[in-house]
Amino acid sequence: MKTLNLTIDGVKVEAQEGMTVLQAARAAGLYIPSLCAHKDLSPYGACRLCVVEIDGLRGTPTACTTPAAEGMNVRTNTPGLELQRRHTLELMLSGHPSPCLTCDSRNDCESVKKTPAKAGASTRCSLCSNRPTCAVRSVAIGSYSRDIGLPVTYSADKIEKSDPFIDRDHNLCVLCSICARVCEKLHDKPAISITKRGKDAKIASAFGKDWILEECTFCGACVDECPTGSLTDRWSKWYGAPDTEIESYCQFCPKRCKISLKIKDGRLVSTGMVSLDKESTLCAIGRFAYPQVFNSRHRLTRPYAKIGGEMAPASWDETLESAAKILGAAGGGKLLVISGENLSDETRSGVCDLIKGLKADFVEMPYGTTAADLPKDVADKIGSYDAVLCLGNYLTVENAKKAKSLIAADFVKTRAQKEADVLIPFAVFAETGGTYTDKNGSKICISAAVKPSGMQRPPAGILADLLMKLNLPHEPGFKPSNIELKGDPHKDKKALPRVIYGSLIADFVPDLRDFGQEQSGEYAPKKGHLIGEPYEILENTLLAPNFHMLKIKAPEMAKYAKPGQFAILMADANSERSPFTIANWDAKEGWVKFVIEEVGRSSAELGAKKAGEYLATVSGPLGTPLDFSQFDSAKNILLLGGCYGIAAIYPLAREFKKRGKRVVAAIEASSAYLLYYKDKLREVSDELIIKTRDGTEGTRGGASDVYGEIGGDFDAAIAIGCVFMMKQNSRVAKKTGKKSLCALNPIMVDGTGMCGACRVSVGGETKFACVHGPFFDLDKVDFDELAKRRSAYSVLEVDAMPRHEGGKCHQQ
């Protein structure tokens, strides 16, 4: 291969023949902004961010499509190119929710909000799951984004959630076509493509139908390569970028594809392809179902044994001791062993030794079978054995009841386990290793990649311990499994694995119903019973993207509510309890209003409720109302509101007004499209000042700028908003020396003083916002400590998210 000599920005650079100018620059460690160029895809040249000037070439060619040539002199960052790039970005990002990119307080804000909030819609970077790895964002920030004059045309198009596994937010798409090009590379014919044109252009499948109805196999490659937050993995996106990736093999089906295990803080959060080529493609089970099954809340995580006639949590030693006793007593044809076919060589060999050593009868359930498939003659004979050892979910409750003595080993909890005398939790998938020999004799070796979430242990090790306790020798002559795969799960949605260790995969991954997979009903939720009266929703209006106004019929609460109080809401009987500030109420008409920002599980469930539906619980009013007597001598009051706080200052403004004060309300939002309640606030204040971080309405900046400028003219100020907003205002408060309060509702989790989430230091004293608050001295709250404690809740909150929006049964 010929070596070429180029000059890029005055630097002498060597490149290999066949490289593009962009590749040559990258190889030499030089940066040219780019977006649609992808290392594993052929040049495309659509985004025009990589424009350069080259001596002897007219205009500004794109570096990603221009082949490097001998003697080329390239310039990448002349003022002309920078201007051109800025215009390109303006066009590309005008419909994008980009206020964070131009915000002056971005670094400060993001040091408080270390992870993006789990919002319903990504209306800015701090509510976008893609923030930690976003290519658009880094290009924009690298190109002096604060100087970009972005016209804001964010159109808040609805996020498409009707497909399994994948959320699509077209508002974020920059039409780089990486997704469609990846799909074409992996599957020859792309299942998706850029459709329509102009402002209607969008990534879609044929006729814009749900992808499940068209050619997509749900390999997830497009989701993983999309440089923006447009295509996301609904289940894993909020865990953030993994810190470790380990190459391993999928253990769901005998195809045993290579798979990349994505681990964060020691926990498996996602799976993906090991490299972007056809051979490494995954099926929907490997890419999407694997981490969901693995992390299922139905996992069996500790051993149990009958000690003194009662099933109870037991130590491993007690458990194995009990198991060995039962097994030993049932030797010589009195024992039935049932296991599945899809097991590692080590596990199979252990089972083999046990059967031979104890002269047990053995039933091997073929790949893909469940408890319902246990042959009838076997089922009929269960009662005739002294003991049954079942590895996997192969006994119906009915059959389990027939066993005189039952040792059940599984990786999940099942109903049949109620009949067991010993219960053994299996480590599976990424938790365990093993050898798999296929029917042609070739072997793969897998090693464990993460620690089990509980006490579960690898099946081979458990069997080895049992053999030792029973004094049984290792016997030669075990045979590796010999499973024939029917159909290719990579190509045919109908050929996807359906069963794992005797359990239906769809039981743990409801979205698989869209693929025609059935659930057993094993885990069907028990009907929750309502606590108290159900509360009717009279209205659910979207005030701004993510902000729902819920008007609820609650005559009692409306009678007693006072400004500053909150109520606990629960969407359904099995939802979490969550506190929300009462934004408005009418005692005569008997309703209360809440403004709910969709940033997590409870708020998402509440936001999804429609008028005419009911909430399981609305209890309140709770919390100490604002004590207005402390303002008796004050004449001028400044109210500062951001996010949900815009609604929260409304009842305060109204009351202050009633008491004859001069009220000025200053509200802030990232961008004009996130403002609401403007008219309502104008009704109850003498002046409304609007600030937006991107300057799209009112003046540029935040409420704390207003506070800083005019705070001296006021006798008191109250700030309500996100932790960062209140922190900014508390800095000002410290300087003014006047009375100032904040309301700490947004940090409360259950509002009862039980969870401890709302613990704060105020002037060195520890307080609970929900009990002692919500109002505290703005200048005395330690907001840095607060922010740190908030981020600790992050992972638990992701676990609690409702993430199964698919499963709508497209295949009716």
């Binding site: 014919k189 493509s193 044109r197 044929a206 068209e214 050619e215």
Partner: protein, 152 residues
């Protein structure tokens, strides 16, 4: 007029399965059927060895292609300047509401398709619309109702 896939295939079989012939083939389908059906896209995908998404991407790029079968009657509302000034926007809105469809769509019973045109050249009659070949001008809502009732 045929909508079934096997017939669709016949008509473009004489196009070589090369990408540059896709648009001519689509034009022929539209000419014959009045629109590009899902079945036709599927047949074309097979013939040209492309994905349905590929073909849909091309079809949806050009405004000339339609995706819905034209109704028995076609109503075209003039959106020219004169008509616009005289409230053809409201006329179109009323039609959309009354028929429950958007422009470019056909009522579920297959009776009426709704379209808009740049200028009918009947500016004196603004606001104007054409039902099949007949021009109606200076329309009011009650008149519109009457016209719709008479379409069978």
């Amino acid at each position: 007029m045929s909508t079934n896939a096997s017939n669709s295939t016949d008509s473009f079989c004489n196009f070589e399965p090369k990408r540059e012939y896709l648009v001519p083939a689509l034009q022929e389908v539209q000419e014959r059927d009045g629109y590009v059906s899902e079945a036709a896209v599927e047949a074309l995908a097979k013939h040209f060895n492309l994905s349905k998404a590929d073909i849909y991407s091309v079809v949806s790029f050009y405004a000339q292609f339609k995706f819905t079968k034209p109704g028995k009657h076609t109503i075209k509302v003039c959106q020219g300047t004169a008509c616009h000034v005289r409230g053809s926007g409201n006329l179109l809105k009323a039609l959309k509401q009354r028929l429950g469809i958007e422009e470019g769509q056909t009522t579920p019973d297959g009776l009426i398709s709704l379209e808009h045109v740049a200028c009918l050249g009947a500016c004196a009659l603004a606001p104007a619309m054409v039902v099949d070949d007949k021009v109606y001008g200076r329309l009011t809502l009650p008149e519109l109702e009457k016209i719709l009732k008479e379409l069978k």
